[in-house]
């Protein structure tokens, strides 16, 4: 009768949510791609410069910060804008994406209680959108690298690995935080404050070396710093990150994703009740 093979829904006999949600996401993959496209289109469609904002935004941000802080770190960090922008891009990808995911679940998740779509659709689409922005913004970064004559080495070939690890971590964090945002509305505000503080507590604008030794030792406990280093080292230091850092970030990313996916899928059925 219908064009698709009929399937049977049985609320009492379904795979564990951990698996089921993943299967459903695969089934609805076209929806995720459409949503990613729509977020991008909506953001830039009505602006005069359109997609150029995606390129211009990181450039302007770098120029402003480089003018403000460049002199301070001139000797410690040659080609300061390269250091700054590579760190900034990784930081923005992780934090803006997670903030956006929380907001979408708390306010825009209305569709989830009106019609069945996989609960993780929004979060995955938001992270996908963030990933696209992140990749596009590597273009202005290469522009600055070229403009300043910063050396480019084979270590850049490691970047796809860095990006994948960052994306897995971000997805895990987004799943955890968006679950929290549905149950506690003010977790969005709390997270925003933490992100603001984190920006200054993480060596993004400044080198790790400016911190007193008593503080810099603690930085290995700052996951954001580790992930930023994973992305920044191949670009700025022209070196593949050392094995310890790679192992730590891979483990951290997978653990976060596992925790996020578990928590999110276990609470997913409650979302339609709480949103």
């Amino acid at each position: 009768m219908a064009e698709q093979p009929p399937f049977i829904y049985d609320s009492a006999q379904r795979p564990p949510p951990f698996v089921d949600e993943f299967v459903q996401l695969l089934r609805y993959r076209d929806l995720i791609f459409l949503m990613i496209g729509n977020i991008l289109k909506n953001r830039y469609k009505r602006s005069m410069l359109g997609v150029f904002w995606m390129l211009l935004n990181p450039l302007l941000q770098t120029i402003v910060l480089a003018v403000a802080f460049g002199a301070m770190f001139k000797s410690a960090l040659p080609h300061y804008p390269v250091y700054l922008l590579s760190g900034l891009l990784a930081w923005s990808f992780m934090t803006q994406t997670t903030q956006y995911a929380m907001g979408v679940m708390a306010t825009g998740g209305g569709l989830l209680k009106r019609i069945y779509i996989p609960r993780a659709t929004y979060v995955v689409a938001v992270v996908g959108n963030g990933l696209v922005n992140f990749l596009v913004s590597i273009l202005p970064l290469t522009l600055i690298v070229w403009f300043l004559g910063h050396p480019v080495s084979a270590s850049w070939l490691f970047l796809p690995v860095s990006v994948v690890i960052l994306a897995l971590f971000t997805l895990g964090l987004a799943l955890l935080l968006s679950t929290a945002s549905v149950f506690f509305t003010d977790s969005i505000d709390i997270y925003q404050i933490l992100v603001q503080a984190g920006f200054f507590l993480t060596p993004i604008m400044y080198p790790l070396a400016v911190l007193p030794e008593s503080l810099s030792g603690w930085m290995v406990l700052n996951p954001f710093f580790l992930f930023i280093e994973l992305f920044r080292t191949p670009i700025y230091a022209s070196a593949v990150p050392d094995a310890g850092l790679i192992a730590a970030t891979v483990a951290l990313a997978l653990l976060t994703l596992l925790a996020g996916w578990t928590v999110f899928t276990r609470k997913a059925d409650l979302l339609a009740y709480r949103l």
């Binding site: 399937f7 609320s11 009492a12 929806l31 009106r114 506690f184 059925d269």
Partner: protein
């Protein structure tokens, strides 16, 4: 075929304001939890609909009609009990659910199709037929925010009903668009009914229930008040049902 076995849907109604983390932390420190009361929107409901039947669901506001449809459309899972059904469900609960008003009608056909679980390739193949049925015409390439509410509903209806579903859920949307489109959409639903779709209709309009349904389920406070052949139930529910505007 739809089968509900002892289905309960329980909502928690907080007695105080919406818990924020701050509020929650304070309460936890003070060793008093947030107080809730439970509300059963559906209470131990057992009911089944055979393949090809058209069943009306009636009852006052808050009887659990919408919750019943949501449980069947898999939007919420039952707190207790079991829901089983065979085939694809087309929920006409929210026409144009997930429409993005900044996007064009064409883009929204794909988006809405994806929300309903169809692939992009599938939608591309059916686009012309959908646009044709909706009667949107040249507006299909204009942003949906420029549409009238009738046009939005027409496009949503056209997407949702383009492929015949095994189960069709209708919530008070029989009156979509203008008189001409209402005829068209009613004809399509009748065609589905004749060719074996199982249909569930929620409506407050006794006339449309009588016109469409074989059987009626009368819900009140989450339990079945009466279920049976349409004439028999409607006789008791609304014996003469005058229009609210007639004197």
């Amino acid at each position: 075929m739809i089968q509900l076995d002892q289905v309960t849907v329980r909502f928690r109604i907080p007695h105080e304001r919406i818990p924020t983390f701050q509020e929650y932390a304070i309460r936890w420190l003070q060793r008093r939890g947030v107080r809730y009361s439970n509300f059963n929107a559906l209470n131990n409901l057992s009911f089944s609909v055979d393949q090809g039947e058209t069943v009306g669901v009636i009852g006052p506001n808050g009887a659990g009609k919408s919750t019943l449809l949501k449980v069947i459309a898999q939007v919420i899972r039952p707190t207790q009990g079991r829901v089983r059904l065979r085939g694809r469900v087309a929920p006409l609960l929210e026409l144009g659910a997930g429409f993005d008003y900044e996007m064009t009608g064409r883009e929204n056909v794909f988006l809405n199709g994806a929300v309903l679980g169809f692939s992009r390739r599938d939608m591309a193949r059916r686009l012309d037929r959908i646009v044709d049925f909706s009667g949107i015409g040249d507006f299909i390439d204009a942003p949906v925010r420029t549409y009238s509410s009738g046009m939005v509903a027409r496009l949503g209806f056209a997407v949702a009903t383009d492929v015949q579903p095994e189960v069709l859920i209708i919530d008070e949307v029989l009156a979509v668009g203008d008189a001409h489109f209402q005829q068209k959409s009613a004809a399509r639903i009748r065609k589905f009914r004749q060719s074996g779709s199982t249909i569930l209709v929620v409506s407050h309009n006794p006339a449309s229930i009588k016109a469409l349904c074989n059987r009626v389920l009368w819900l009140e406070r989450g339990v079945i008040r009466l279920v049976g052949p349409v004439e028999q139930v409607m006789q008791q529910y609304a014996p003469d049902a005058p229009s609210p505007f007639s004197k």
